[in-house]
């Protein structure tokens, strides 16, 4: 937490309500994003008990798939395949390619998409679960020594894998986790750890009635997934067992009853998470977007286009892991994107700029004189050029020194150099963006803010004509070549258990942490 966060958190703690960290919204929101909430059976890596998803904010209109015994292959894939069918339908319109002329290259065209899908999850853990876990568990199915699954399930594995990877790009909006988005835009009176709980985070934003901590503790009992509340799972366990028994005894009526019970429980629990995620979206929608959001979404669509182009040739395949060179390059790109994002946000949003202001990296003052016709010879130059001089009376302290380069917060193109720096006043010589300054018609008495931050000082981001290398054809592909792992490729790594094995699972009665495996006595 920065000092800025601390001050805001103290305000939030006093008010019992979250405080805005930003003046604007810094993520894109599509008209109808797909909200996905899920419960995974504990003890398994990717065995969904239930997935609820939809674009309508009424949970009654959402779709729900349920596996009453996710450790049974048929039960598990009954749910996964149904989800996959709908998911592929949701994605399909965004895969349509159209040809557009490549700028500055007459006669050449590129295939692009007009849009990208947007998926929204309640929290970071669900996002990671859907992408890196469920997506990864599906994407090699149908290949090599694996079980057959419908094609839409393979497609879902590929799409989710793309989302999982793209989610690492700072500032992306295709795969949002609401706890992350909300805590980027609001400061609460609780810790970052506690902010990972969407129920309490939303309670801070909506205002906490009455006695705060007991109310928050009550809300903390809500499990928004992917890990269900353990007590809830304990109550569910007999019905999962009954389903297996019905399976073993070939008793469809018993299975149906057990399934209905599990479905009801999962629906009740996931509806709450689903509604909360839509509520979070509504909160975000009520904030007007920052200027550079559109540019970042364009990039999301651009990158999605590369996936769409690969998809045009069949199910895209993803490597198990990136080779070191690609991993390093990717890391570098993420960090340069993060830098660019920071700069854009600072210029877009006064409250984010305030962080720099608090650190003394801004010059804030009222214009006392303006010499727009001032001319001088720039270092290394021969001709006299126009270098307007702006004299400011400082209204806030700065730690910037004479000679430092600053940009005008009102218009990034306006660049200047600090001169005659005194505690009360200074002069800024405008060395770039003179025309833009003229167009802005600044006058004596106006307040101006300059920032000591050069957005183009860092690395140049990728050139637009290059295929983003994240989506070049992969080299190290698939099954069996995991050279460091002698057992790789032996199976499709599914958590399947036979009906006999499932029936033999001992009943775990009342449990306590002392019963956890690997316990220390």
């Amino acid at each position: 937490m920065t000092l800025l966060d601390v001050v805001m958190a103290a305000e939030a703690a006093r008010a019992g309500a979250a405080v805005r960290r930003t003046a604007y919204r810094h993520v894109h929101l599509s008209d109808r994003p797909l909200v996905v909430v899920a419960y995974n059976l504990s003890g398994e890596a990717a065995a969904p008990l239930g997935i609820m998803y939809g674009t309508d904010n009424d949970p009654g209109k959402a779709s729900l798939v349920v596996a009453a015994e996710p450790r049974n292959r048929d039960s598990r894939f009954g749910a996964i395949n149904a989800f996959a069918t709908d998911f592929v339908e949701f994605v399909r319109p965004h895969l349509i390619l159209r040809a557009v002329p490549v700028p500055r290259k007459p006669g050449t065209f590129r295939q692009v998409t007009s849009s990208a899908p947007q998926i929204v999850t309640p929290n970071r853990a669900t996002r990671a679960y859907l992408g890196a876990r469920l997506g990864r568990s599906l994407r090699y199915l149908g290949l090599g020594d694996t079980h057959e699954v419908p094609e839409s399930t393979q497609w879902t594995g590929a799409h989710l894998s793309w989302f999982a990877e793209h989610a690492n790009l700072p500032g992306q909006s295709t795969f949002l986790a609401m706890t992350e988005t909300l805590s980027q835009h609001f400061v609460t009176g609780q810790s970052a750890l506690e902010d990972e709980n969407l129920a309490t985070l939303l309670a801070w934003i909506d205002g906490l009635p009455g006695d705060r901590l007991p109310e928050l503790e009550r809300l903390e009992q809500h499990a928004y997934g992917p890990v269900p509340n353990p007590d809830w799972e304990r109550r569910l366990e007999p019905f999962v067992r009954a389903y297996t028994e019905g399976l073993r005894e070939d008793d469809p009526e018993r299975m149906r009853l057990a399934f209905e019970h599990v479905e009801r429980e999962v629906r009740d629990a996931l509806s709450v998470a689903y509604a909360a995620t839509h509520r979070a979206i509504a909160v975000m929608r009520s904030i007007s977007p920052a200027a550079s959001v559109a540019k970042r979404w364009d990039n999301d669509v651009y990158e999605w286009g590369a996936h769409a182009r690969r998809s045009a040739n069949g199910i895209p395949r993803f490597a198990r892991r990136h080779d070191p060179l690609r991993a390093a390059a990717m890391l570098q790109r993420w960090s340069s994107t993060a830098e660019e994002l920071e700069t854009d946000q600072a210029f877009d949003d006064p409250l984010i700029l305030a962080g720099l202001d608090a650190a003394g990296r801004c010059v804030t003052g009222d214009v006392t004189s303006l010499d727009v016709d001032h001319k001088e010879i720039k270092p290394g130059g021969k001709n006299r050029t126009t270098v307007p001089l702006i004299k400011l009376t400082l209204t806030a302290p700065t730690q910037l020194l004479a000679g430092e380069v600053v940009r005008w917060a009102g218009e990034q193109r306006v660049k200047g150099e600090l001169r005659d720096v005194h505690p009360e006043s200074l002069t800024i010589a405008i060395t770039g963006g003179v025309k833009a300054l003229g167009e802005a018609s600044v006058g004596v008495g106006d307040e101006m803010v300059f920032v000591g931050l050069d957005p183009w000082g860092g690395q140049n981001p990728w050139a637009p004509d290059e295929v983003p290398w994240t989506h070049r054809p992969t080299t190290s592909e698939l099954a069996g070549d995991d050279s460091t792992d002698p057992t790789a490729g032996a199976s499709d790594d599914s958590p399947d258990m036979t009906v006999a094995e499932l029936a033999a699972i001992p009943i775990v009665g009342a449990v306590s942490p002392a019963d956890e495996p690997g316990v220390i006595l």
Binding site: V7, A23, G43, L193, R321, A358, P517, V519
Partner: protein
């Protein structure tokens, strides 16, 4: 874990626990102790052998402690398959990339669980410690009949001045080679990667085992370097039930843990700072009603200083009480460790806000620096808010539904 201390302190510790039932500590206790070693309250609770979760419950702030039956069953089944159900063959296979052990029937296994006697009694634990000492000596001497795998050894170890019993999952040893620490976990390793949080806590737990093993070897008169500076993690590979082994280096973690533990005052010294006659057994005759009991207990517990951080929730059964206390006192620590450290000397968030808006009061001169930084920050926020009138406002939206 039985926590006992020689000398005078025992009397004090016994008095703190009084007639309360003794604690059978678990992985959480050691994690709580090592994750937050500066917390006196946790040290006292552990040293006195008080059950933290029962204490928290009596204080009216129980920690929800349910565990998923699916998770427990899955974990037990995984370990059972590696060991008993496959005659240890699956474990030997998984370890093969790091230790070349003979296959059954040539494999010698010492299961320290099977020592006889009534389980979980102090005598049973003593016998297991003695048995572990024996086999460790055999191994260190290079005895050719020494076991290749020691299943659930029990190590008696001095952790910051209290004696604890620790139970790693297994030790693996090939005669003439090095001793390996093995931990079996039920969380998946997907494409060679595990959940970083879980991995970190496994490393933390293993670092304690590692320290304890080295100390045991030293106590028995052997070279602790026999033990490799790492732990071999055995966990399910990808999404299935096949095990995979990965070596996790421990040297840095163990060293930093040793440094941290050395820096905390020894438990007898901590006990000396506590109020005379302190006991958590405030109502041995069961005469108080619920509210009175809670108050008496709260006073006793609050007289032992805590060092709350939000992460306590993950490690310590007292966390709900300590969080409540931190909120009650508006303690900056409720926002996190860094905030507590950055606002050192500022006792509440309300004070932080006052310093930010109106500077230090008379008598607060030592807070001048932090007050100035807070003041500059507050002024910057106010300037920004003045520029965008809606910036400070939480959107006053109608609530679509109540979560």
């Amino acid at each position: 874990m039985s926590l006992r201390e020689g000398g005078d302190a025992v009397g004090g510790l016994d008095a703190i626990r009084g007639t309360l039932p003794g604690a059978r500590a678990n992985a959480r206790s050691v994690a709580a102790l090592t994750e937050n070693p500066g917390c006196t309250r946790r040290r006292v609770i552990d040293a006195a052998g008080v059950a933290a979760h029962e204490l928290a419950e009596k204080l009216g702030h129980p920690t929800p402690r349910g565990q998923s039956p699916f998770a427990i069953e899955g974990g037990n089944r995984f370990e059972d398959r590696l060991k008993r159900r496959s005659g240890y063959e699956l474990l030997v296979d998984a370890l093969a990339r790091y230790v070349d052990l003979p296959k059954p029937p040539d494999l010698i296994v010492e299961d320290v669980n099977d020592i006889g006697g009534r389980r979980y009694t102090p005598e049973w634990m003593d016998a297991r410690v003695a048995r572990t000492d024996d086999v460790l000596s055999q191994i260190a001497r290079g005895d050719e009949h020494a076991p290749h795998i020691v299943d659930h050894p029990v190590l008696r170890f001095d952790l910051t001045g209290v004696t604890v019993n620790l139970e790693p999952d297994a030790l693996a040893f090939r005669v003439g080679e090095k001793l390996e620490l093995v931990e079996i976990k039920a969380y998946p390793i997907i494409d060679g990667q595990a959940d970083p949080g879980k991995l970190a806590s496994t490393a933390g737990q293993s670092a304690v085992y590692h320290m304890a093993l080295r100390a045991t070897l030293e106590r028995l008169g052997f070279d602790p370097e026999l033990l490799v500076w790492s732990v071999i993690l055995v966990a399910p590979r990808n999404f299935g039930r096949q095990p995979v082994a990965h070596r996790i280096p421990l040297k840095k973690k163990s060293m930093s843990l040793a440094r941290v533990l050395k820096a905390v005052p020894r438990t007898p010294d901590v006990l000396a700072t506590l109020p005379d006659g302190l006991t958590f057994d405030v109502d041995p005759a069961a005469k108080l009603d619920g509210v009175a009991l809670r108050w008496a207990l709260r006073n006793a517990v609050e007289s032992v200083p805590a060092l709350y951080v939000p992460e306590c929730v993950q490690n310590c059964d007292m966390a709900k009480f300590c969080r409540w206390e931190a909120w009650e006192h508006d303690d900056p620590a409720r926002l996190g460790r860094t905030v507590r450290d950055n606002l050192a000397g500022v006792h509440s968030l309300a004070d932080a806000l006052r310093l930010a808006t109106s500077g230090p009061a008379a008598g607060e001169e030592e807070l001048a620096d932090v007050a100035e930084a807070l003041g500059d920050t507050y002024a910057a926020i106010q300037r920004a808010r003045a520029r965008v009138p809606t910036a400070g406002v939480t959107p006053p939206l109608p609530r679509a539904s109540t979560p």
